[in-house]
Symmetry: C2
Subunit: 245 residues, 2 copies
């Protein structure tokens, strides 16, 4: 059995997220497993580095699977991409050690949140950005973001159900790329709780709008209570950007 | 009656093109007329600077219409954009002379053709680019393009039905923007025949691929026969970019 690691890119607009459930045709994992099983003529199950929610995109999702097939990787990529729909693509494939697991071995992740900050919406970015009409104060957003960097209990910034598991995560950096009306926020951390990037992004948007003051970010963190943070920013602005091993 | 000029941006993916026909809900013109008529409470007919085909996009389509309403332009834009779907947006509106006609007064037009030239397709550009896998020879494409600049009979580069009208048009420039795997070709001319930009783009793609030599562009032009030119490049890579008055 070979253990094969895939790098996958997708537009999540039309899907019920990454994870297989019910109608597999509506999930990214389901779509890929169906295609791989058919091409390799064996039942394939892939493990992703993590779930992405309905409507969330990925520049680089990583997944691995075990297969008996001796197909070359070039052939695997070519055949899989022909069969996959246009909104999902396998960017690369490599043979990895049999102990490699895309989720358990992940050391860090980068997420990207994109905002179209303009009076006028943009039809070409509508699927890939949150549209925010009011002019955002990016300096204030950057100050608020600083409070969140480091190791913290992020209970205020998650809708994770089970409170048994640790809510402590480390954010290494939060970077802003501003290109006229397009604002990109890149979050790099050792892991993120359920909805964490979207709730932090929503909170930063409320800071940028002046509804929350930058230093409140620190207080929200200390409350360890979701109700104090900002809204959950829409899924369509979120991209799983990179997984580090 | 005021004559109001609109600048309109749209993602044409889901529509049967600009021009109203049959089910108005499936055309850009139909969508906008329905919304304007409702907001202004009078029957509105808009004239576009030209048609765009099914799946073709517009950065800046221009249209004008006559209305009795005394609504302010800001209010008009705001209300219209709230009612329009996310893939169509009114970017601006202005009162123009009553003799202004968006089609008859147009002095020049710019079209953009976009190509994603990579082994790997791009899920985020799939609606807005033609994917071309084989590496294109851009120098050859530029040489071929040079032959087409100027005043010519473009019979070879159109599927226009009526041969009664003049096939003579002037192309002022064909510019290439190359940014890694993304190739953008900008066509600027006094007017374009039906499918002309897509057939020229298809021909340039075949030149880039080595199927047609650059100097053949001149011969194809002289043949005045569609069958000598390259294929009609897909609609999804085409944008009406600007209309000049």
């Amino acid at each position: 059995m070979r253990n094969i690691k895939l790098s996958i890119q997708y537009d999540g607009t039309k899907y019920d997220g990454w994870q297989k459930q019910g109608n597999t045709d509506k999930t990214i994992q389901g779509k890929i497993e169906t295609v791989l099983s058919k091409i390799l003529n064996e039942s394939i199950e892939i493990s992703g580095s993590g779930r992405t929610d309905s409507g969330v995109h990925a520049y680089n999702q990583v997944a691995n699977f075990y297969a008996k097939s001796s197909i070359t990787l070039d052939e695997l990529i070519r055949k899989t991409n022909i069969s996959l729909p246009n909104d999902i693509v396998i960017k690369s494939a490599e043979i990895v050690d049999e102990s490699f697991h895309s989720r358990y071995n992940a050391k860090g992740k980068k997420y990207l949140y994109r905002i179209w900050n303009s009076k006028c919406r943009n039809p070409f970015l509508d699927r890939y950005c949150t549209h925010y009409i009011d002019k955002l104060d990016i300096t204030a957003m950057k100050i608020a973001a600083e409070y969140l960097i480091g190791e913290h209990d992020f209970s205020s910034f998650t809708t994770q159900k089970s409170k048994k598991k640790s809510m402590v995560r480390t954010i290494y950096s939060i970077d802003f790329n501003v290109n006229n009306e397009l604002i990109e926020i890149i979050f790099f951390g050792n892991g993120f709780l359920y909805n964490m990037v979207r709730i932090i992004s929503g909170t930063l948007l409320e800071v940028g709008h002046g509804k929350i003051s930058p230093s409140d970010a620190n207080e929200i963190l200390n409350k360890k209570d979701r109700s104090f943070a900002g809204y959950t920013a829409p899924a369509k602005g979120l991209f799983l950007y990179e997984v580090e091993y």
